[in-house]
């Protein structure tokens, strides 16, 4: 390998070779139609927390998948601890001490934590459980990660499952840990715990690379940050020497407005009225319990909470995809508790569901996706037929009005970027002139620019007098868009208050189920009382 050695000398100055544990040089990875990584350089120092920041689609995941051996780069070189590395598979990466925790966990739901940790390891053939269990307990102790080694995965929260993934990597001897958007599914409290754990690991000599598109996390947790934009590395900076607005500008490539232009809107009559609603989840367990809410015309009511606390079931009960097992739902005074979905659509209930692809048909054209809600009515539907000219005019109109970036209306919707897909979805729902617009996680996975436009569309609906029910895990989003905020935990409303009175600490407690305020579901009651009088549950 003498050639490789000399190459290092040429490529990297002596001092970085000393401290850099990973060097990636000129990484190019092409996918059909996109260059996901376009000559990316990355240098990660031993013992640091290195943030990889970039908008969605910037190529962060791809770059790390290259490092972890999932993708093979078209060009470029990788050095690990001063050695030229040929990483052809995750096994190779693990051998080099690199572990990766993906956005989607890869755990066997019905197995225990211990079983998952040792799954696939060679030495785990003969009754290795006891030794493994002991080692897992040591690791959890050492890094302050609470997990029961005997729990089954399905019993664990997202945060706990993530810890299992981290344990898996550590157990396999990972010295360098890559985490892909690790905080996207955590509560603020869990996020804090995770960052603590990461700090303890770096104190023990581990190195952490974490991917994110959230600026405040970069500032809070990282030692250095590398910014990616459209596959290229824009800069690597000492975190201490930079700030949020500087990073945002590097990430997006232009100035970003951080404030929202939220107009004063007089709220109208109650549009959505939910009274003591109960519903079950797919496993038949209670997911929504005696939940009561009112949403007024011209108001955004935000529901904050960690995903999996009944939000999805609540939305589906309102749209009619899930049976209510108790209680009552009314829209504009009409009881819709047990009417089929189509009748609810006709009464003005429109919905952007959290799982985008349950409301879109990936392989069908944008035009065909845009007519999903109104294909039955003229001018789109005429008699038994669809009017193709009307479809074309309608689709082109929406594409123009909502600035959906697409070659044309015939392009399959799955070919669009996340932001444009979401804009198309929202355009379709808004175009029906809803009385009630439900928007679940409307900006999840979107970059700053796309998020901004989605927010503006929601605010415009509010001004038009639509009742908007916003469901989001992003607290910042919920607080800045909503007029009132409800916190949901295990299917119950833990507190409901005007957004301007929000207290982050209390919200965190409510999201974790540790605090419950007396329920005041109506606007009048909430305005009439100081919500801060709440008692810990």
């Amino acid at each position: 390998m003498p050639d490789d050695q000399s190459a290092i000398m040429v490529a990297a100055p002596q001092d970085t070779v000393e401290t850099a544990t990973i060097i990636m040089r000129g990484i190019i990875k092409r996918f059909p139609g996109v260059v996901a990584n376009d000559g990316a350089n990355l240098e990660v120092r031993k013992g640091e927390i290195h943030a990889l920041l970039g908008e969605n689609g910037a190529g962060k995941t791809t770059l790390m998948n290259v490092l972890y051996g999932i993708y093979h780069p078209d060009e470029g070189e990788i050095w690990v601890d001063g050695q030229r590395a040929a990483i052809h598979s995750p096994q190779d990466a693990i051998r080099l001490g690199i572990g990766m925790i993906h956005q989607q966990f890869r755990l066997v739901q019905t197995h225990s934590v211990t079983e998952n940790v040792i799954l696939g390891l060679k030495e785990s053939f003969f009754f290795p459980e006891r030794a493994a269990r002991k080692r897992i307990l040591e690791l959890t102790e050492k890094y302050g990660m609470k997990v029961d080694p005997d729990a089954r995965i399905w019993q664990l929260s997202a945060g706990e499952q993530q810890r299992v993934e981290i344990l898996k990597a550590l157990y396999r001897g990972a010295k360098i840990l890559i985490l892909d958007e690790p905080t996207s599914m955590l509560t603020p409290g869990e996020t804090k715990d995770l960052l603590n754990t990461l700090r303890r690991m770096t104190a023990e000599g581990h190195t952490v690379v974490f991917i994110t598109h959230k600026l405040e996390e970069v500032i809070e947790a990282s030692d250095r940050v590398t910014v990616l934009r459209q596959g290229k590395v824009i800069a690597t900076l000492e975190t201490a020497a930079t700030g949020e607005s500087k990073l945002a500008q590097l990430m997006v490539g232009r100035e970003v407005l951080f404030h929202l232009d939220k107009k004063q809107v007089d709220t109208g009559p109650v549009v959505l009225e939910i009274d003591k609603l109960s519903a079950l989840n797919d496993k038949g367990m209670t997911a929504v319990v005696d939940l009561s809410l009112e949403v007024h015309a011209g108001e955004i009511l935000g529901i904050a909470g960690v995903a999996g606390n009944g939000q999805r079931e609540l939305v589906e009960a309102i749209t009619g995809l899930r049976d209510a097992t108790g209680g009552r739902i009314a829209v504009n005074g009409q009881d819709i508790t047990h009417v089929p979905p189509r009748a609810r659509i006709e009464r003005g209930v429109c919905c952007v569901p959290g799982e985008r692809w349950t409301a879109l048909i990936p392989g069908m054209s944008i035009a065909d996706n845009l007519i999903l809600k109104n294909y039955l009515q003229p001018p789109i539907g005429r008699g038994l037929f669809l009017d193709r000219a009307a479809i074309a005019a309608y689709a082109d109109g929406l594409i123009k009005d909502y600035a959906i970036m697409t070659p044309d209306r015939r392009t399959p919707i799955k070919m669009l970027s996340g932001g444009n897909i979401q804009r198309a979805l929202l355009a379709r729902e808004i175009a029906c002139q809803p009385a009630l617009l439900i928007a679940a996680h409307p900006t999840s996975g979107l970059d700053v620019g796309a998020t901004e436009t989605i927010w503006q569309l929601l605010l415009a609906e509010r001004e038009r007098g639509t009742a908007v029910l916003l469901i989001s895990e992003d607290l910042e989003e919920t607080l800045s868009l909503s007029d009132r905020v409800a916190v949901i935990f295990e299917g119950q409303i833990m507190g409901l208050f005007p957004a301007k009175d929000a207290n982050l600490e209390q919200i965190s407690l409510m999201m974790a189920g540790a605090l419950r305020l007396p329920v005041r579901s109506t606007l009048r009651q909430a305005q009439g009382s100081a919500y801060l009088a709440g008692e810990p549950a």
Partner: protein, 357 residues
């Protein structure tokens, strides 16, 4: 030493040219595999292929036979494009074809004095209903009890086939058939006209072509077709948009079963003029129709062409069975190999696969 390895990367989209290329390459590989089989059977593959082609397409007689056999393939295949579009994996067109044949034969034997212009339409209508109802069973079982329609529709093939056997060996066995398990010949009114010097029962052919166009228009231009496409591509989105999933599933099954039933009517009223044991009525048209639909990429108009091609393969297969003394199952082996490769070929349109050293 490095062992080369295969890597799979998911594609976000698959361009048209790739889909065509995958199809062509799949067919070539299928041919290659079939060539190996011929070789193993001690037959020169080149000669065999040449005989197949000449048998199916190389003479006027062959072409006529090819068209004749493409009629049931077209009817059943067009129906299956619709079912598959709606994500109902109807594997039992063969059984639905038999039911169509049974109903049509029953009508022909019972009302033999009716004039042709009443009897034949009634037979087609009855055959359609027979096939449709037979296909409704899996659809209802799926809607009610979530039973997989692949299994039920396939199992019902054997029930229908045994029903045919029972009828021709039992109550419907003819009076002047010298003991053969067949019915009496239908009255002239129940016999479809044919093109001169051929077995092409053109009313059925015209019906098949018409239905291919109709189904195409249904899928591409109507509200119902839109609902079928949405349901087939994403049932969640269909539910979300308030479409009645079960109604649509039932409907596509009824139509595809009905079309297979029409194929059965054509066989008894246009080819045999009587009911025979199941092997006599269909050499597996209902199964071959699956390949017709799949090769046509679920496009009913393309199914006209693929039905013709596979009809030719059936005729050519018959020809080499006799000429080269090959077992009767040879053609089924072909069909299986072709389907296998075509489906495997789809993998290439969905993943990028490369060899890495």
């Amino acid at each position: 030493m490095k062992i080369p390895r295969l890597r799979f990367e998911r594609r976000l989209s698959s361009p048209q040219w790739l889909q065509v290329a995958a199809l062509v390459v799949s067919l070539l590989l299928a041919m290659l595999t079939i060539a190996v089989i011929f070789y193993a059977l001690g037959v020169n593959p080149l000669i065999a292929f040449q005989r197949i082609f000449r048998g199916g397409f190389g003479s006027v007689y062959g072409l006529k036979e090819t068209v004749t056999k493409s009629i049931p393939l077209m009817l059943a295949g067009v129906g299956l494009t619709l079912a598959f579009k709606g994500r109902m994996y109807n594997i039992g067109a063969e059984g639905q074809l038999f039911m169509g044949a049974i109903v049509a034969s029953g009508l022909a034997l019972e009302f033999s004095e009716w004039p042709a212009y009443i009897l034949l339409p009634v037979m087609f209508l009855g055959g359609f209903l027979g096939g449709a109802l037979w296909a409704a069973i899996p659809a209802i079982l799926k809607a009610r009890f979530r039973v997989d329609e692949v299994l039920t529709s396939l199992m019902l093939v054997y029930v229908a086939s045994d029903a045919v056997k029972y009828l021709v060996y039992g109550p419907w066995r003819g009076t002047d058939t010298r003991g053969f398990p067949i019915t009496d010949e239908f009255s002239a009114a129940a016999q479809l006209p044919r093109l001169i010097d051929s077995r092409i029962h053109y009313p059925t052919l015209i019906l098949a072509l018409l239905l291919a166009v109709l189904i195409y228009l249904l899928v591409a231009r109507t509200k119902l077709g839109y609902e079928i496409r949405v349901t087939g591509e994403n049932p969640d989105a269909a539910r979300y948009a308030g479409m009645n999933y079960q109604k649509i599933a039932l409907l596509v099954m009824l139509i595809s079963g009905g079309l297979a039933g029409l194929a059965g009517v054509g066989e008894v009223a246009g080819i045999h003029f009587r009911m025979r044991p199941p092997e006599g009525i269909s050499p597996g048209y209902g199964f071959t129709a699956i390949i017709v639909a799949w090769l046509a990429r679920l496009n009913p108009l393309a199914a006209i062409l693929t039905a013709f091609l596979l009809g030719g393969l059936l005729v050519g297969g018959d020809a080499i069975q006799i000429a080269l003394n090959l077992p009767a199952a040879t053609v089924h082996v072909f069909n299986g190999v072709i389907l296998l490769f075509v489906i495997a070929g789809e993998l290439f349109t969905r993943y990028r696969i490369r060899l890495e050293f």
